[in-house]
Structures are given as C-alpha cells and as structure tokens.
C-alpha cells in the first residue's frame, strides 16, 4: 500500500484525511486508485495534477515507480513564467 | 496630411493662416509626433520651420541671448554663453526627455505644447523670457508666461508661430535654477517643478526674485508672494520657509496618475526652497 498526501483544499473529498492509503506501484496506478476510492478527486485529477515522489516533482509521467516507503504528495499541475 | 517646409517666416505664417483644417508647427516634433501616433491630433497640415533662416541660431543680443525656435536641447546645452548666463533655463531645457529627445526637442515647442508640466516653461518664466511671434499681422513680442492658456491651448492666433525666445541680459550677482520631481532619475514628466531666478546685492541681500511653479495649475504659476519672501533677505531659513509655504499655498494641483494634490503642494514647496539656494550659490559666484 502507498501513503498519498493530498493538499488542504482536497481533504473535503477524502473524508477529511490528509493522508490516504491506496494500492498502487506507479504514478498512473496511484491516480487511478485515488479516482476509484475518492471520486470527489476526479475533477482535479482530470484538470491535471503532479506527483512529488521522494521530493521530486513529476508531471504526468505514468510509469514512474512508486514503492510503499516512497513519500508521495499530490500537487497541482506546474506552470512557469 | 500635407507637409510643407517653407524658407521664410512670412510663408510659414501664410500657410498656417490659410489652412482650413487643424495645422501644426513642426520644430523638434517630440510632442507632435507622439500625439499624432496616439491619434490625439490628425493635422491637415504640418509646417516644418527648420528651413527658415535663423531658426537654428543662438545670437547674443542686448546683453542677453536670442534662441531660434528650432534650436534643440543638445545644441543649447553646448552653447557656453547661454549656459553661463542662464544655467537654470538650460538645465530645465535639458531635463526634457532622453538624450535622444534632447537631440530634437525645442524650447518653443515645449512652450507651445502648453503642458502644465513642460520642463523649460517655469525656468523661462522665472527668467522673464520673451517669445518673438510671427503672424499674418507681422512680428510681436510676448512674455513666455502669457502664451500657455490652459493645458494644450495657447494664446497664439491663427497663422501665428514662435520664431525665437529671448533671454534678457543678466545684471550683477544673479543666478537661476530649476528643479523638478520625478519618481525615477530620468525619462519622466515632472510631477511638480520649481524655477527660481534672483539677484543679490554686493553683501548678499536678495534685491529681486521670480519664483515659478510647474504642474501645480493649468499653466505655470508665477508666485509673487514666494518671491517677496526672498527679497530683502539673505535667504536665511526663515525666508526660505516663507517662500516654500507661499508656494504650497499658491499651488492648485490636481490628483492624477502621477501624483496627489497633497504631494504636489508639499514637494513644490521643497523644490522652490532648494532651487532658491542653488540660484543663490550661482548668484554669489557672479559679479
């Protein structure tokens, strides 16, 4: 199981939990599991999210491996200037 | 739009008088072309005066200087005679725009654009300069302060245009100075400004003074009360303070994107005091 931290304003869609556990082993399977277990997150996931895995921010890279002891943080899509 | 470049003042004033639509004089063009590009004015005729004899001359006359209407800021700044006699007028003229604008802009253009914030106008008013005007009825002279009437409007009649500015002779210990406030160090239009011209006697007492303010009224303000506060004094702190408060009282500024009423009143007083001190130093150094 992988522990995923969601940011403050999404916690209303994860029954108030800051950290949720999902069954996943890649970037994409984390998002698919989140969508299945917490449908309230679907609009945000579809609008685009990044995942910070062990301090590195990944943008939509489906096959990035995720292990049970990875720190996984859901983050908004990155934009720059 | 028609463009004409007559070779005599008579021809120029005839063209201007006979033009049915809006007509503009082109000397430096650094205001006119900006206004044309922004669509603020669409002249039917532009009369370029740079080919008229004398327009680009700086000549000594009656102890003072006659400066042609097409003399640029850069050219005037390089004239040792005028710079020595009227440092305040020259420094005011040289504050207009950038180095590039200085290569083109003229005092007559700055005057006739009639912007309350025109940099050379307060200094010229303090210097009691006189504009020479050519028109259908011939030539006349007029104090520069009487030409701007309101923002963008002058007292010139149809067919009239300024052909030169005369800076009078400078008696004994005299000095002038001009300061303006801008938020940067260059490239801005004065938020407010002050020009001071004064004469000292042999023991440093101010015997004559003119204090003028820019950008604090529809046209340049000549503040007699401020001048009187200096006359008879050695410009001690009390005199300077009185001069400053007279300026703040006389100023009737507006609040706009460049400054507030309160700021312009306060700072025009500060500038008048500082300009007076510079004029005093310059006067002290002259005999």
């Amino acid at each position: 199981m992988v522990k995923v931290t969601v940011w403050g304003s999404l916690r209303s869609f994860t029954d108030g939990q800051a950290v949720v556990e999902v069954q996943a082993d890649t970037f994409k399977s984390v998002l698919d599991a989140l969508a299945k277990d917490y449908p309230g997150l679907i609009p945000q996931i579809e609008a685009g999210v990044s995942l910070a895995i062990d301090g590195r921010i990944y943008k939509d890279s489906w096959f990035t491996p995720v292990t049970p002891d990875s720190e996984v943080v859901l983050m908004p899509l990155m934009q720059g200037g | 739009m028609q463009y004409a470049a007559p070779e005599t003042a008579k021809e120029a004033s005839r063209l201007l008088a006979e033009c049915a639509g809006p007509a503009r004089v082109l000397a430096g063009g650094t205001d006119l072309l900006v206004q044309m590009k922004a669509g603020m004015v669409e002249p039917a005729l532009v009369v370029d005066i740079k080919k008229i004899a004398g327009m680009r001359d700086i000549t000594a006359e009656d102890g003072g200087w006659r400066i042609g209407a097409a003399v640029s800021g850069a050219e005037l700044g390089e004239n040792a005679g005028v710079t020595a006699d009227w440092p305040g007028v020259v420094e005011a003229f040289e504050l207009i725009g950038s180095t590039q604008v200085q290569g083109r802009c003229t005092m007559a253009g700055n005057l006739c654009n009639a912007s309350p914030a025109g940099d050379s106008v307060p200094a010229m008013v303090a210097a009691n300069a006189v504009a020479r005007i050519h028109g259908p009825e011939g030539v006349r002279d007029c104090p520069v302060g009487d030409i701007p009437v309101s923002p963008g409007k002058t007292s010139l009649g149809k067919g009239e245009f300024v052909t030169s500015i005369f800076l009078p002779a400078r008696p004994g210990h005299c000095g002038d100075a001009y300061l303006r406030f801008i938020p940067r160090t260059e490239m801005d239009i004065a938020v407010c400004s002050a020009g001071v011209s004064l004469v000292l006697d042999d023991n440093g007492v101010c015997t004559a003074a003119r204090v003028s303010l820019g950008a604090v009224a529809p046209t340049v303000l000549l503040v007699d009360a401020a001048a009187n506060a200096l006359i008879g004094s050695k410009l001690d702190d009390a005199a300077l303070e009185a001069c400053g408060s007279a300026c703040a009282a006389a100023a009737t500024p507006i609040s706009d994107k460049r400054g507030t009423v309160e700021f312009r009143k306060d700072v025009s007083a500060v500038l008048a005091k500082r300009a007076a001190k510079i004029a005093q130093q310059r006067a002290g150094g002259r005999s």
């Binding site: 940011w7 990155m78 | 260059e186 700021f263």
Partner: protein
C-alpha cells in the same frame, strides 16, 4: 526510468564564458525578431479594441469597412470555426471578444488591408453597438459578495461562501496544528499586504506573420517563448491538424512569461485565410499593456507566531489574486511558495483567484511567488525587528533544508538556502555602515523550476562538426549553453557545435521556454543525445576494428579501445568517424526525446540598501547584492545576467511599476512614460554571488535560475524602506507619494 544521477566531474567547457552563436546577428542588427519578417503580397492586420472595461456587444456592422478600397478582410469572433473548448476557448475569447468585451482594449474585430494607414482608416468605419455593463478591476472589490460579475458560471467548486461568484479557484496547503503553534508563540504579528498588477515589460511588442491557404495549411512566424504551444493552440482554434500548421519562432525580444500563449496569432491566421494573402500583425505598446498578459494583483493576510529566540511556531496566510476576465491558476504556485523557504511545524496557505475586467493574466517570472513571499518575508522581518534579532539569524533558525517537509507537501532533497543565508551574512555588504535616511533589507526567495517535453537532435556532420537542433526559443543565451554541454559530453571544442532553434515541423513537441527549464531539460536531452551519438560512433569504430562494441570507450573526442581483450588500435578521431560514416552505415545522428523530470528548486537571498529623501519620498537604490543557487553554472555570465535582470525587474515592481485604472475601468498608463520600468541611471551595480549546490536530478547538477531572481526584491526593498523611514510599508509599489505620506503620518 533511471534517474540522471549527478556525477561529480571536472569540466573543460562547462563554466567557461564563450561568445553566443546569435551574438553577431544581434549586435549588427541582422537578427530577425517578430516584426522583421516580410512576404510578397503581405497585408497589414489591425484590431479594433473595446473602449469599455465591460460591455455587451449587441451588434458589429463591418459593411462600410469591407467596402473600403484596399481592405481585403474583416473578421470577428463569429468567423472562427467555433470548435475550441475549455481553456483554449478562453484563449480565443481573450484574442477576439465573443459577445462581450471583458476589458479595456479587448479586440472586438480585425481588418487586413494593403497598408497600415488603410487598416487604421478601415477600423474607424466599423460600427459596434455596445451596452456598457458594470465592471470591477481591483482585487478588493472583485472578491466582495455582490461585486459586478465578470462572467457567469465560473465560481470555483471549493470557493468558501463568503467570497463572490467572481472567485474561480480555491486551494489550501500546509500541515500541523496552527492553534497549538500560535499558543506557543511569544510574539504574533498579523498584517495585510497588497501588490499592484505589473507587466513583464519586454521591449519587443508581440508580432506575427501568418500565411494560410484555402487547403487548410498554414505557416506562422512570431516572437514567442513556445512555438509548439502556439501551434497547438492555433490548430485547436482554427480546427486544423497540428501538422498542417508550421510555426517558426523568430528571435524573441524578451518574454519573462508574457509570451507563453497567443494574443494575435489566431486572428492573423483567420485574416490570412479570409484575405488569401499573408497578414502581418504587430501590437503597439499601448496594445501590449492593455491586451497582453500582465501579472496578478494581490491582497495577502499573513499571521506568524515566533518565540523570543526567533523560532517560528505557526504561520498562516490567506492569499487573494486577481488576474483577468478568465480563470487562471497562478494562485496555486502562489500559495505553495508562500512559506517554501521555511521549516515549519504548523503552516497553512489558503489561496483564492478572482475574475476582474482585465486581460487574462500570463506568467511573469516565477508566477505567483513574488506576491506571496513578499508578504511573508515582510512579517518575518518585522518579527525580527520587534524581538531585537538579526534578520538573517532568524531566517537561518527557520530555514528549510534537506529533510524539511515543505509547506507545499514534499520533503526537500539537497537545497542551498542555508548556505545562501550564511554567504549573505558573511558578505561585506551585510555589515557595511549605513548613513541617515538609509536602510538595509534582506529577503529569501524560491521557485520550483520544472522539466517538461523536450526533443533534441544532434547530427555529426561529415567534417566532424556538430549541428545541434533544439526547439526552445533562446532569450538568455541557452543556445550557447547547449553547445557547451554537447561539446563537453563529446570532448570537442565549443566552436565545433552549432545550436539552432528549429520550427515545429523539424522536431517533436517541446514545452515552452518557461519555468527556468531550458538549461535543465534541454541540457539534459542534449547530453543524452550526445551520449547516443557517442554510442553509435563507438559502435562504428568497433566494427572498423573488428572488436566487440563494449570494448570501445569515448574520451576527449576519440573512440578508444578499452578493456582486457580490446587489442591495440590507434584512437579514432570524431573527424575520421564522421568522414567514413557514409561508408560505415550512414550519417550519424544522436537524438533524445523525453518528458524531463527531476528539476531541482532554486533558492535566492538578496540584500538591498536604499536611501529615502524624507522631504520628497524619493527612493534611491544604493547597493544591491543577489545570492542564488545555480546547482551548476553552465555559462556564469549568463547566470549572472538572469540574477541581475530578475533583481532589476523586482526593483521596478517594488518602487514604481503598477497598472493604474480609472473609475471607468480604463487603463491610464498604457505606455513606457507612465508605466515606469527602471532606467540605467536609476541603478547601482547589481553584485551577484552564484552558489553551486548540485541538483541530483541532472548529470551536471544544473538547476534552473531564470525566475528566482525576481522573488526576493519585493520584500528586500520593502524591508529596507521600512528601516529607512521607520514605518512598515504594506503596499507595492512604494511610489514617492505613498512614501512621503507614510513619513508624514508617522508624526
């Protein structure tokens, strides 16, 4: 996907300062920028723009304009295919109003004519029937319930009740127990800060030349930070296949985030299609200020608790951004970066985005970070002052470092903030004496940086020189940096590599030049492409020598036999391999395509000294020092350039730059006279200190440096001002009227 681990090495080319390949053209005037393209039969396109901040367009009568001699096409939004949806439809509407004019200067129609004068006259013949509606341009008004509504149906899902329907976005980041944290504090300060909208201020107005045929194929030449993005946006708006549209990026006259989208390209394409001729559209400076993408304005409440000895116990912020008549996402990075410089047990950053009757905000160098970090750094500075502590010591005591859980979620890896703060404290500037009316301020700053889609092709020409083809417009010298990385990797001189920026028909998609990503991501791809070429060159040498491929290594521009049974062979030069390549299998090209990940964050610390004239409120910057972590400075001069340029933009933002709207919602200062960017005589030298804490995610340790430089100046200057005049300034810009008023009110 293996991570591109950083390996320590001593560099031969990296770290030197060669001349940029685009230099000669730029100093001789030959370089072609957006407005420097001409085509046979070219027409001039111009937009008719709304004089109202908010007005319904009841009707547009273009008949007189169409009938005018020399006019070849007149279009409105109805002429678009109408297939764009979602964010792309917002972009299209921003380019050409659809039913409603939403900001002063919003284009409502466009003409193409044989010359500029005819186009100008034709615009005057277009009659638009406007129904003026109530407008709102300030953040304070836009969020209040009952505020004039900019657009229907845009309220954000999570926006709390107390905010108006103009509010499209709400987010919250942070962790820990705020209440418990504030309870432990000896001193709590809570303040509200405001910043005005500013513009990127690039000197080159937007310009493009579009040529579209009735067969649906088209070409666009334009100044842009991302021509692939321009292509994809225009293709969606014009209902074309992406491959049917080729976009060529001209040299770009500055962008800073403001040229990362489209404002005129779709309209130029539409005009070209209707007129059957190429159409050139060039914005005037007035149009750039009114109708491109200035920054968000902000209003931020910050509350921070601190113990007597300077430890932050809790930090909370409510950050409100307004950024134009369509939703934008700048509030997300804004809220995330607010407390990113700090190691906090209890932190919360709430962010809100509101619509206003202003153009759609585009990014401006670390979008969102300057405004929120300004407010935080100002409160930290005030707390240090109140508690009698040194501002750098307080920041050191709370600085984020390796292992810190960031305020936006992930735990930091190797980061350089502590080293930067220590370097700032040790810098002679920090201890230099100050005179009367003078003040010193410091601030830290942060930006994410990121990777994104990148494609590079590296061809070995037959004489052994290299043509490197990449797809990211180069503003700050990145072509030189790419040539340097290729030369380093191949072991050949810098001069042997020519880097060019190719059009969208020559490479796979490349993410826009933004997010300080180019040196990182395109550099990464360049190194991988060079390695691919090396592998192939070693393979060719092995075949020529008849030995095993794995027994050949690449060193300093030569293939060399290596390993126990490799045998004795003369090292084979790159020139030889190149010359023989037609006969050993064909031309050799290394290429690499990737969505690059692993961009490291970049921190900065700035020190600013200034002097205030107490009688006029005039502020002069006396001394300025920028310290920033570059991971590895590929071309040190260009890194310095980013630091100096960012700092000066920050100085303008703090002192004099702002969008000034009248009561009528119209922009009052749409020009460089009254939108005051710093000029040469305003400034001292900008001293720079580059630290190199390698980014583990890049082979050479590179971190992006392009954006962080603009973040610290806002607070550094505001803090310096507050010490100089003894009054805490809480609004930007600190223009002289506001400064003088603050001094007078101090009593």
């Amino acid at each position: 996907m293996a991570f591109d681990e950083y390996q320590k090495r001593d560099f031969k080319v990296i770290g030197t300062t060669p001349l940029r390949p685009d230099g000669i053209d730029k100093v001789t005037g030959r370089a072609q920028y957006g407005a420097d393209y001409y085509l046979p039969g070219m027409l001039v396109g111009k937009m008719l723009r709304s004089p109202y901040a908010h007005a319904k367009i009841k009707s547009i009568d273009t008949s007189a304009a169409r009938a005018m001699q020399g006019v070849k096409a007149v279009v409105t939004a109805d002429d678009f295919p109408g297939t764009a949806t979602g964010e792309t439809l917002d972009v299209q509407d921003h380019c050409l109003a659809r039913g409603t004019a939403l900001y002063d200067g919003h284009a409502v129609a466009a003409v193409a004519a044989i010359d500029a004068e005819t186009a100008r006259q034709a615009l005057k013949l277009i009659k638009v029937d406007y129904e003026v509606l109530p407008h709102v341009t300030s953040i304070e008004d836009a969020v209040k319930p009952g505020a004039p509504l900019v657009q229907e149906g845009r309220r954000g899902r999570k926006v709390p009740k107390q905010f108006s329907d103009n509010c499209t976005g709400w987010c919250e980041f942070g962790h820990g127990d705020l209440e418990a944290g504030f309870a432990k504090a000896d001193k709590i300060i809570e303040r509200t800060f405001k910043t005005s909208s500013t513009h990127q201020g690039y000197i080159e107005p937007h310009a493009c030349l579009a040529s579209m045929g009735s067969d649906g194929r088209a070409d666009v030449w334009c100044c842009t930070q991302g021509h692939f993005h321009v292509r994809n946006l225009c293709a969606q708006i014009m209902d074309m296949d992406q491959s049917a549209l080729r976009v060529t990026a001209s040299e770009i006259g500055g962008g800073f985030g403001g040229k990362t989208t489209v404002f005129i390209e779709p309209v130029a394409l539409l005009l070209s299609l209707k007129a059957g001729h190429p159409v050139k559209v060039v914005m005037s400076r007035d149009e750039v200020f009114k109708a491109s993408g200035p920054t968000v304005a902000s209003m931020t409440d910050v509350k921070i608790g601190m113990t007597k000895d300077g430890r932050i116990t809790a930090a909370d912020a409510l950050i409100r951004y307004e950024g134009g008549a369509w939703p934008n996402l700048t509030i997300f990075p804004g809220a995330q970066s607010a407390f990113a410089c700090y190691d906090l047990e209890a932190v919360r950053a709430q962010g809100l985005n509101a619509l206003t009757n202003r153009p759609l905000q585009a990014a401006y160098r670390a979008p969102g970070a300057p405004q929120s970090i300004y407010a935080v750094e100002a409160v930290v500075d005030e707390l240090a002052l109140e508690l009698g502590l040194d501002p750098i010591d307080v920041r050191l005591k709370n600085a984020a470092k390796k292992g810190t859980k960031s305020s936006y979620g992930p735990t930091y890896d190797d980061i350089g903030l502590v080293q930067l703060l220590e370097a700032a404290k040790a810098h002679p500037h920090y201890s230099a004496p100050l005179g009367p009316n003078q003040g010193r301020g410091i601030s830290s700053g942060f930006w994410f940086n990121f990777g994104g889609e990148t494609c590079v092709s590296l061809a070995l020409d037959f004489d052994g020189s290299i043509t490197l083809v990449e797809g990211n417009p180069d503003i700050g010298g990145s072509r030189a940096s790419m040539s340097m990385m290729a030369a380093e990797e191949l072991g050949i001189p810098y001069e042997k590599v020519r880097t060019i920026v190719a059009d969208t028909a020559s490479l796979g998609h490349n993410e826009v030049t933004h997010g300080s990503r180019v040196t990182f991501a395109v550099g990464l791809a360049t190194i991988k492409a060079a390695r691919a070429a090396k592998t192939e060159m070693c393979r060719r040498a092995a075949k020529i020598w008849g030995i095993d491929e794995d027994a050949v290594v690449w060193e300093d521009g030569f293939a060399k036999p290596a390993g126990p049974n490799a045998g004795e062979y003369e090292p084979m030069s790159i020139e030889k391999i190149a010359k023989d390549s037609p006969r050993t299998g064909g031309p050799i090209v290394g290429h690499h395509e990737v969505t690059a990940e692993g961009a490291g964050v970049s921190f900065g610390v700035h020190i600013c000294d200034l002097e205030v004239d107490p009688e006029t409120g005039f502020t002069k910057i006396l001394r300025y020092t920028v310290l920033q972590d570059a991971g590895k400075a590929i071309h040190p001069q260009y890194v310095e350039g980013q630091l100096q340029g960012g700092a000066v933009q920050g100085i303008g933002w703090a002192l004099n730059e702002e969008y000034i709207y009248g009561e009528d919602g119209r922009l009052q200062n749409a020009g460089f006279l009254d939108y005051r960017i710093p000029v040469a005589s305003d400034l001292p030298k900008i001293d720079t200190v580059i630290l190199e804490i390698p980014n583990p995610g890049h082979p050479y340790g590179v971190r992006g440096v392009g954006e962080t430089g603009i973040v610290p100046p806002l607070a550094a200057i505001s803090n310096a001002m507050s010490h100089a005049i003894g009054v805490r300034m809480q609004e930007l810009p600190m223009s002289p009227p506001k400064v003088l008023k603050a001094i007078k009110n101090k009593g």
